[in-house]
């Protein structure tokens, strides 16, 4: 049973949820239009959760991704309003995220501070920075370059199948993350650091470099998420954008079966986890559950996921 849970992960849960919502909503769930909405809604969280997967695999946590997303979106939008530099706004967004992530990583790896505390601090500090960037107002830019990534779709079969660009980006991020985690030396080192940090150090792995890398990736992907949001909304508000996004990202990772103590997990699980969250939100609206009950149900799903995590760990070699 334990083996079965481990191998199949949460994919059956996702499929059951989809089927359940399909019948409860009189067949409205599996329509091309609705699936497009679900994919689009899942996109930003998937990108954040991919970064979070790297961090949690090392046994850490990144609470600052929501704030970094806001600051990156603000930085990108601010640049996009400067005519000569407008074309660089995407790059600026992503690099802003990377910068904050690397600062997190350096504090954790070099000063040996606990990840929870460092990123809790940057959750607040970077939020302040995001507000500063827009002098505490909303920045609009209706003519932002590359707006298509926020609202356009990639047409696969003209008139029949098209995928939102946001979802294409999210899938690419998952694919690249998988390549890094499973096909590179760095990937094995990430699992090793999460599995047994002291043994990793003795085995000659540069633990500090691995840690800076994972927090850097998490920041970079939060920056990308910020750019995606900015392109979708043509606007960003330093105070409101990305509030409590870190919680959805962490939930997706945990739902995906990545162990909170590190060393065990996969990026595909994270994708499934992010889709479960999106399906849950979409489905509950479709069947007319009130906003208040949606909170209650989503919260219970998080607790259920952690219970599953414990159950999973009992089957592993680690005690």
């Amino acid at each position: 049973m334990v083996l079965l849970v481990r191998a199949a992960g949460m994919l059956p849960v996702l499929l059951l949820l989809c089927l359940g919502f399909h019948f409860l909503s009189d067949g409205r769930f599996f329509s091309g239009q609705n699936l497009g909405i679900v994919l689009q809604q899942a996109a930003v969280n998937t990108v954040l959760a991919a970064g979070m997967t790297f961090v949690i695999l090392t046994g850490g946590i990144d609470l600052s991704v929501g704030s970094i997303l806001a600051a990156s979106a603000m930085a990108g939008l601010a640049i996009s309003t400067i005519p000569d530099l407008a074309a660089f706004w995407l790059l600026v967004s992503v690099l802003t995220g990377l910068g904050f992530g690397v600062i997190n990583g350096a504090l954790i790896a070099l000063l040996r501070l606990p990840p929870f505390i460092v990123t809790l601090g940057s959750l607040t500090a970077v939020r302040g920075f995001a507000r500063l960037l827009g002098t505490d107002t909303t920045i609009f830019n209706p003519s932002i370059p590359y707006a298509f990534i926020g609202n356009g779709s990639l047409t696969l079969i003209p008139g029949v199948v098209s995928i939102p660009w946001l979802s294409v980006i999210a899938l690419l991020v998952i694919l690249v993350s998988w390549l890094v985690l499973r096909r590179t030396v760095l990937g094995v080192h990430i699992y090793a650091v999460g599995g047994n940090e002291s043994a990793a150090r003795l085995a000659g792995i540069k633990v500090w470099a691995v840690l800076i890398f994972v927090y850097g990736v998490s920041g970079l992907l939060a920056g990308l998420g910020g750019a995606m949001q900015a392109a979708r909304l043509y606007a960003a508000n330093g105070l409101q954008l990305g509030q409590s996004y870190e919680l959805d990202a962490i939930t997706a990772v945990i739902l995906g079966g990545t162990s909170f103590v590190g060393g065990i997990g996969s990026i595909w699980g994270t994708l499934v986890g992010a889709l479960i969250i999106a399906v849950l939100s979409n489905g509950l609206i479709l069947i007319g559950v009130s906003d208040i009950w949606q909170y209650v149900i989503k919260g219970l799903v998080i607790i259920g996921a952690v219970a599953l995590d414990r159950y999973r760990l009992q089957g592993s070699a680690r005690t």
Binding site: Y191, A199, L202, G204
Partner: protein, 507 residues
């Protein structure tokens, strides 16, 4: 002499069919310092844990305290029976005050509120009796190791214990602190306490002991009266056994000894290791013997850069080399097998494949970062065959393997780096007998192929069985070394004498 305060008759203890204690008798009188001796693993700590209630003895034996049969059950059972144990690593809460520690678990309260003042007053007389130079309100964190030991003793006296067991109490103490502790132990003896004193240090035993009981392989092998206590007698009792044919040693150091590979000069860490120098030649197996706490593992950690050196330097094949991290040690050709493979060596959730290849992934990688999975699989399969690792396939998690197979997986990781120097820290700890013998063969073959090998071991027959030369450490320093020659084989007595600091006249 008075009636015995503690009598153990035929006490045995087995763990999963392995007998850690075989029908041991022990008699301790009030007003006596009873020394308990034996090599590491002889059964001393098992015996102690039975007295403290941590282990339950096998049925059949009997324990009497003041003539009445008792059953000691659970962690509080020992204290209830009047027995207190002071462990090597003290069990105080450093964040609490002296008084709070002494009352820990039995706090005084007044209508549900902690009665701090009354507790402080309550411990005053005991601290005065012990000659303590600190206040009941002092936080334990501010005390020296010697003072902390006093707090532990005060706690035992406060619980009205009649039997006090001390496990290597002087390990962390300075010479002055040890002297004060001895005076106090003699005072407690005069007050009528029975003291069971566990130590490896021969001089302490000779100075303090009224009676010495020696354990070996879980059996009581001798009990000496005050008049019979002599260091050489004790050493002979502790080690006296044959070295079987179990050990494999075909390589010939006299014929094959190559150039010096590893030279360490004056290594120190400012704490546990003080000015240690050693050399290891190509094709030579050098044993590093010593008691637990002598600083052997700490010295190995200094060599591989796992902890920072305050002095000394290292040369590989005559070239000075600056090693600051274990990674740099691997690059320099020094591989280290940890004594604690589960928490410092293996990645239990990762496959044998990844565990074996971990140290060389970067070297094998395509384009500098892409895993070369064919090479990795090939190397793991070869290691499985070469070292006889028994597992379904290379994809199995390391955590599910037996101790011996885990050790071979870890060894394969080190060998993948083709080290010039191999430091093996307790290579056969927690390994079954069959795998032990296989590991000895592997070590022998590595020596034949010219690897310089340093083996840290607490198992003296093992050291004697596989090593060409033995370096003995005592209290953070090199106490001496001895070489195996045809005329004079290595002897356990000589090693123990050096390790315990007893000058043993060698015939």
């Amino acid at each position: 002499m008075s009636d015995p305060i503690l009598e153990m008759r035929g006490v045995s203890k087995s763990f999963f069919g392995i007998r850690a204690l075989r029908s041991v008798d022990l008699t301790v009188h009030a007003g006596e310092i009873h020394a308990l001796m034996g090599e590491n693993g002889a059964g001393k700590s098992t015996l102690m844990k039975i007295l403290s209630g941590a282990y339950r003895p096998d049925p059949g034996g009997e324990i009497r305290i003041e003539g009445r049969p008792v059953r000691i059950e659970g962690p509080l059972g020992g204290r209830a029976a009047g027995i207190s144990i002071i462990y090597q690593e003290l069990s105080l809460a450093p964040n609490l005050s002296v008084a709070e520690n002494i009352y820990l678990g039995r706090e005084m309260s007044r209508s549900g509120l902690l009665a701090r003042g009354a507790m402080r007053l309550g411990v005053g007389p005991i601290l005065a009796r012990l000659g303590a130079d600190f206040l009941p309100s002092t936080p334990v964190a501010q005390l020296s190791m010697g003072q902390r030991q006093l707090v532990e003793i005060a706690r035992a006296l406060h619980a009205r214990s009649k039997i006090l067991i001390m496990d290597e109490p002087t390990t962390a103490l300075s010479a002055g602190e040890s002297e004060r502790l001895f005076a106090l132990i003699r005072q407690l003896r005069a007050e009528g306490l029975a003291i069971i004193y566990i130590s490896h240090r021969m001089d302490e035993i000779c100075a303090l002991g009224d009676r010495v009981t020696v354990l070996r392989d879980g059996r009581l092998v001798g009990s000496l009266d005050k008049a019979e206590i002599r260091a050489d007698t004790i050493v002979r009792l502790m080690v006296g056994r044959d070295v079987s044919t179990f050990y494999k040693k075909d390589h010939d150091p006299a014929a094959g000894r190559g150039h010096v590979v590893l030279t360490a000069t004056g290594l120190a860490d400012g704490r546990r290791v003080r000015g240690c120098s050693l050399t290891v030649h190509a094709g030579e197996v050098v044993g590093l013997a010593g008691l637990i706490g002598a600083g052997r593992t700490e010295l190995a950690h200094l060599i591989i850069g796992a902890s920072p050196k305050t002095a000394g330097h290292i040369e590989i094949e005559g070239r000075p080399i600056d090693i600051r991290t274990p990674g740099e040690a691997l690059d320099a050709g020094i591989a280290y097998l940890t004594e604690d493979r589960r928490s410092l060596g293996l990645f239990l959730d990762m496959s044998c494949l990844d565990n074996i290849n971990l140290a060389v992934l970067g070297r094998d990688a395509k384009l500098g970062c892409i895993l070369d999975r064919d090479t990795a699989r090939d190397r793991a399969s070869k290691a499985f065959t070469a070292l006889g690792i028994r597992a379904a396939n290379v994809g199995v998690s390391a955590g599910v393997l037996s101790g011996g197979n885990q050790q071979k997986v870890l060894l394969s990781r080190l060998l993948a780096t083709t080290p010039k120097v191999l430091i093996l820290d307790e290579p056969t700890r927690g390994v079954d007998v069959g795998a032990k013998s296989e590991i000895y063969s592997i070590i022998d073959n590595l020596a034949k192929s010219g690897t310089a090998i340093l083996v840290i071991s607490s198992d003296l027959p093992e050291i004697i069985g596989i090593c060409d030369r033995v370096i003995v450490m005592r209290a953070g320093q090199i106490a001496g070394q001895m070489e195996r020659t045809a005329a004079s084989p290595l002897s356990q007595e000589d090693i123990m004498a050096l390790a315990t600091g007893m000058e043993h006249a060698h015939a």
